[in-house]
């Protein structure tokens, strides 16, 4: 009976997740006040809703980690369907999404009324799809030296690059930073999965070139956001940082050693999206170095344990999932923190598992659950090797 509640897979990773969820619930007690003020709802209700989402997220991680990730391979169509469905969502969002801050990134589900950023789903779907493409790649099983360069490039184009381009391209139209994040995650994923360097360099140069070209061409082909991007990049070099960046700096400056204490943030009232895009700055303002250490330690733990599981697991699909999800979460956290401390142009990226946003939290929970599932199955398998009985997962 006790085993039903046992946290399996990887203990340190569990601790990191739990720490982040607790941090999230704690900091939201302060930032929801602003939201409550603006929407007219009692802020306690908003906070309780967040608390509920955090609980559901925890339960979801738990539930998924108890399942066998290999179930995704039972039918070869499952992952492609997820991928193409995510592409469909992206298209739908562009066509009929909800406009927030002049950008169409959100899709409102009819009837239920839940809003979510379709790019959240698309990123995970892309990485799952890449992991699948990887294990079905006949080349990955032997170091490929015989295939001529051009031919290999052509194969990779269809196998990896076109799916990546399709997803990032669709995200790019509304959301440059998430597109860059997605592309980078996919790129490092391929790197970690062992794609030979010369190809990576070739693709990397190509992608960077296209991105720069797009950046300059965008204003002339009717993408309204282009002006915003250019502004933000230009503002990076100016003496006066943009408004949000100034406020984030103010929040961080005030944090120092102990911070302003729970609920002591002042900047939360001013920073647009203090409860999502700038939650790190607010954590630093309220909890100082302690808050910073906890958040950084949790994400580093998450990353290192991800790498560790990646290292330990031998099964290539599981490895793909682990490194894909680990990189996804780590890069998003890193980008968020860099934006908050002013090392990256102002852009809207949430801090995984901490920022407010129920659906985003649930989607990331799925990713974490998958990592833990891989770890758990792998552990069980190792035990089964020393065990005379075969693992029931292998039928």
């Amino acid at each position: 009976m006790k085993d039903i509640f046992k946290l399996e897979g990887d203990r340190p990773l569990w601790y990191a997740i739990i720490t982040l969820l607790i941090a999230s619930v704690v900091i939201m007690a302060s930032t929801t006040k602003v939201l409550g003020y603006r929407t007219g709802q009692p802020h306690l209700i908003i906070w309780l809703r967040h608390l509920t989402f955090a609980a559901i997220a925890f339960f979801l991680v738990f539930r998924i980690h108890r399942a066998d990730y290999r179930g995704l391979l039972k039918n070869p169509w499952i992952i492609p369907i997820i991928y193409w469905f995510s592409i469909l969502l992206l298209v739908l969002t562009l066509a009929a999404g909800v406009e927030i801050n002049d950008a169409r990134r959100w899709l409102r589900l009819p009837f239920i009324g839940i809003q979510f950023q379709s790019s959240d789903i698309a990123r995970i779907a892309l990485l799952l799809f890449l992991a699948l493409r990887y294990i079905t790649d006949p080349d990955h099983q032997k170091p490929n030296t015989e295939t001529p360069f051009g031919e290999a490039m052509q194969q990779q184009l269809f196998r990896y690059i076109l799916p990546i381009s399709l997803t990032t391209g669709l995200i790019l139209i509304a959301d440059l930073s998430t597109a860059v994040l997605t592309g980078l995650t996919a790129f490092v994923f391929l790197f970690m999965m062992g794609l030979p360097l010369r190809y990576l360099i070739a693709w990397g140069v190509l992608a960077a070139g296209l991105l720069i070209a797009f950046f300059f061409i965008a204003p002339y082909i009717g993408i309204e956001r282009a002006a915003t991007w250019q502004n933000r990049l230009l503002q990076m070099n100016q003496d006066t940082p943009p408004y949000q960046a100034r406020l984030a700096m103010a929040a961080i400056h005030k944090g120092t050693f102990l911070g302003a204490g729970p609920g002591g943030s002042i900047l939360r009232d001013f920073l647009p999206n203090s409860f999502s895009d700038y939650v790190y700055a607010i954590i630093l303002e309220e909890y100082g170095w302690l808050g910073m250490s906890i958040i950084l330690a949790s994400f580093l733990m998450l990353f290192i344990r991800g790498l560790h599981i990646f290292h330990r697991v031998e099964e290539p699909f599981g490895r793909g999932i682990v490194i894909g999800m680990t990189l996804l979460i780590t890069f998003q956290a890193l980008f968020h923190i860099m934006v908050n401390v002013g090392l990256f142009p102002v852009t809207g990226l949430t801090l995984p598992m901490v920022s407010m946003g129920g659906t985003s939290m649930l989607i990331l929970s799925t990713a974490l659950g998958l990592i833990l599932s891989v770890a758990r199955v792998h552990e069980a398998e190792k035990q089964s090797h020393s065990d005379p009985h075969p693992d029931p997962a292998y039928e």
């Binding site: 003020y37 079905t136 406020l247 700096m249 103010a250 400056h253 580093l300 290539p316 699909f317």
Partner: protein, 711 residues
């Protein structure tokens, strides 16, 4: 698709290069460390971050004290502070989407243009577009609007996107504005702006201002500073109330009479001061300047700030000196020949009204003979001008009054040490040329004589009333205790009465109020010489003549419609003031009390009067009238229907209704309604007013009580 099979069974095929893991791990670690370094640098080495942070830290900020009120001598509220608002818009507000802005900007521009009528809808739209393009977070929309305006503006398109307590982007910054309740005595009440201090506001700033407090505050959404824990670090002290000596009724009469005179004579500027004889209290002080557009503005305090050649009004001082120092009698005479007298290279000239040949001192005074006064001064003091000047100094004519209202011009009286002093200086001085005095300084001299020889310093303030009710009276100060013997003073007073009865001011001899005084008519010195056709007319008088209550001066500079003498231009204005004051029962004329006018109703025809004054007249002379329909108006307008029947209609001094104060912070609400003369009672302990006992739009009656309920 290809058949998918877990391939973990072929370990040799795995590419598990450690360097890739290590490289990625190192880069990630490096980037995370970089963020830590950045955080530390922001916290300790970044001067700009410190500056940004300071604006968002809990700070002890000054809390402005509410400035004290200014009352008139009867306790009527003249000036108070009322809350007004500056409104800004935050174009970077969340919730302000492109769609909302685009669809409502036109309607908003139209609404603003229609309501304020200061810009066209197109101009407003361009302004809003500009702010939106810059995503300006604190874009000024309109400054200094009233609470009522605010209530309308917040319902405008775009502004009305609001939740229960949050209006998208609309920011209101409250402040206090000084309100001159009746719009009177602007200049003498004055103002304090930056370091410029004018009038009573300026002179008594130290009392009115109160003292700033401090409060721990933080910025909240919308850039508004709010108190952190309610209390004050240092409590602001509300300014004291200053009870001025001005009398609302007299001030109004004086301003109206001056304006009428200014218009009648199309003068360059004019000034009127009415002083209470016994105490030197300034009951009214009015100034007007003609603007190129033929409008008349109260924009300079000539009475205090403009020292000018007084002309014949100074003959009072000369007369006093001659009689006191040289024992001249009114009957002593001198030869004025044909009204011309040459001293060295200059000729003294008399006006046409002065008799020729030998004239007495009495005639010289009441007909205002320059030749007589010039000759006497020349002959009696020509050898020893210092003695004459000493006599003037004994009257403190060379000393500023030092009244508490700032901006007094210094008097100028030449001395033999001056380079410009010549043989003709002294005789010209004796009839008012070559020296400079302000109207108020002249008035103070006259007031001393009228007051039986005791010269008092002009006062502008009766008392200072501290917020806790402590009242400090400002006592009259004596400037010269005894100007001359009682007999001499009485003689001079009689001579001044004769000026009105027979002399240069006989144009105003008819009237219900006996007046005494002295005229003055001066050539204007312009473009380096005296202009023979341009004048400054003045009249200094006192009334009622038998037992003077008030002394007043009227100065009209450069009248242009034919009349130019003090008797024909300035004296009638003073008479108008005296008559109206009498009609309003501000003073009584003792000897005439029992003589009813021939047709009493005609006497009060078409007059604005306080109801109480009218009732007294009606009782005294048996006037027939009907009570006006409106319940007990303070002021009424009279119309005679027959010789003894009067029709009354109520006059509302100023249209004042109870404002809607619901939703307003309690302090603001209290200032608003108390500023209108209502008394407030607050029930409840909430921050904002939720209900009021007098509904909005009810006419205000002074000292009526209004109950404000808070949550």
């Amino acid at each position: 698709m290809t058949n998918v099979e877990p391939s973990s069974k072929s370990p040799g095929a795995l590419i598990r290069s450690a360097w890739r893991r290590i490289l990625v791990a190192l880069i990630i670690l490096l980037l995370f460390s970089l963020t830590v370094v950045r955080v530390l640098s922001i916290q300790f080495f970044h001067s700009k971050a410190a500056r940004y942070a300071k604006a968002y830290t809990v700070q002890e900020r000054p809390v402005e004290a509410v400035r004290g009120d200014i009352l008139d001598c009867n306790g009527r509220l003249l000036v108070t502070s009322v809350p007004i608002y500056d409104i800004y818009f935050d174009f970077g507000a969340e919730g302000l989407t492109n769609r909302i802005f685009r669809s409502e900007v036109d309607a908003l521009a139209r609404a603003l243009s229609n309501y304020f009528e200061d810009r066209t809808a197109g101009e407003y739209k361009r302004l809003l577009e500009k702010g939106y393009r810059q995503r300006h977070r604190y874009f000024p929309i309109k400054k200094g609007i009233s609470y009522r305006d605010w209530q309308v503006v917040r319902t405008f398109p775009l502004f009305r996107h609001q939740t229960r307590n949050y209006i998208v982007g609309l920011i209101r910054v409250p402040r206090y504005r000084r309100l001159n309740v009746y719009g009177i005595a602007d200049r003498v009440i004055g103002y304090v702006r930056n370091d410029v201090k004018v009038g009573i506001e300026g002179g008594y700033d130290a009392y009115l201002a109160g003292s700033h407090g401090t409060q721990r505050m933080k910025k909240t959404y919308g850039g508004v500073w709010v108190p952190v824990d309610g209390g004050y670090v240092v409590e602001p002290m509300m300014g004291a109330t200053v009870q001025s000596t001005l009398d609302y009724r007299i001030q109004r009469i004086a301003e109206q009479a001056l304006l009428r005179g200014m218009i009648r004579h199309r003068a360059e500027w004019g000034s009127v001061v009415v002083m209470e004889t016994a105490t030197g209290a300034v009951r009214a002080l009015a100034n007007l300047t003609r603007k190129p557009s033929d409008q008349y503005w109260d924009d300079r305090n000539y009475a205090i700030g403009e020292a000018v050649e007084p002309g014949s009004t100074i003959k009072l001082a000369t007369l006093l000196v001659l009689m006191k120092d040289k024992d001249l009698r009114p009957s002593d005479s001198i030869d004025v020949d044909g009204g011309r007298f040459r001293i060295y290279d200059r000729t003294i000239r008399d006006g046409a009204q002065v008799p020729h040949g030998y004239i007495s001192l009495r005639e010289a005074f009441i007909y205002s003979s320059n030749v007589a006064f010039g000759r006497w001064a020349y002959e009696l003091y020509g050898e020893n001008p210092e003695r004459f000047l000493q006599q003037l100094r004994a009257l403190k004519l060379h000393e500023p009054l030092g009244a508490a209202v700032p901006g007094e011009a210094r008097p100028f009286i030449p001395t033999p040490e001056d380079k410009r002093w010549s043989g003709t200086t002294l005789p010209w001085l004796a009839f008012g040329y070559g020296l400079k005095l302000t109207p108020l300084q002249i008035l103070t001299l006259y007031n001393g004589v009228v007051n039986g020889g005791r010269m008092v310093k002009p006062r502008f303030v009766e008392a200072i009333i501290e917020p806790d009710g402590d009242r400090t009276e400002i006592e009259p100060q004596t400037r010269v205790a005894k100007m001359a013997s009682r007999a001499l003073i009485d003689t001079i007073k009689t001579l001044m009465e004769e000026v009105v009865r027979h002399g240069t001011a006989r144009g105003i001899r008819r009237g219900k109020v006996p007046i005494g005084g002295k005229t003055g008519t001066v050539w204007l010195y312009k473009e380096g010489r005296y202009q023979r056709d341009r004048f400054r007319a003045s009249f200094v008088g006192f009334f009622p003549a038998e037992a003077p209550k008030y002394t007043a001066i009227v100065v009209i500079n450069d009248p242009q419609n034919g009349f130019h003498s003090g008797g024909s231009v300035a004296a009638p204005i003073l008479r108008e003031i005296a008559e109206k004051m009498y009609l309003q029962m501000i003073f009584e004329v003792p000897s005439r009390r029992s003589v009813p006018p021939h047709r009493p109703a005609r006497w009060v025809d078409r007059k604005k009067l306080p109801m109480t004054a009218f009732e007294t007249w009606a009782r005294r002379w048996g006037l027939v009238y009907e009570e006006p329909e409106s319940t007990a108006p303070e002021w009424i307008f009279t119309r005679a229907v027959s010789d003894d029947t009067v029709h009354l209609s109520p006059v509302r001094l100023l249209r004042r209704d109870v404002p809607n104060v619901k939703g307003l912070p309690v302090a603001d609400a209290v200032y608003m309604v108390e500023g209108l003369g209502l008394k407030t009672e607050i029930r409840g302990t909430g921050m904002r007013v939720t209900a009021q006992s007098l509904p909005p739009g009810t006419p205000v009656r002074p000292r009526r009580k209004i109950v404000l309920w808070t949550e």
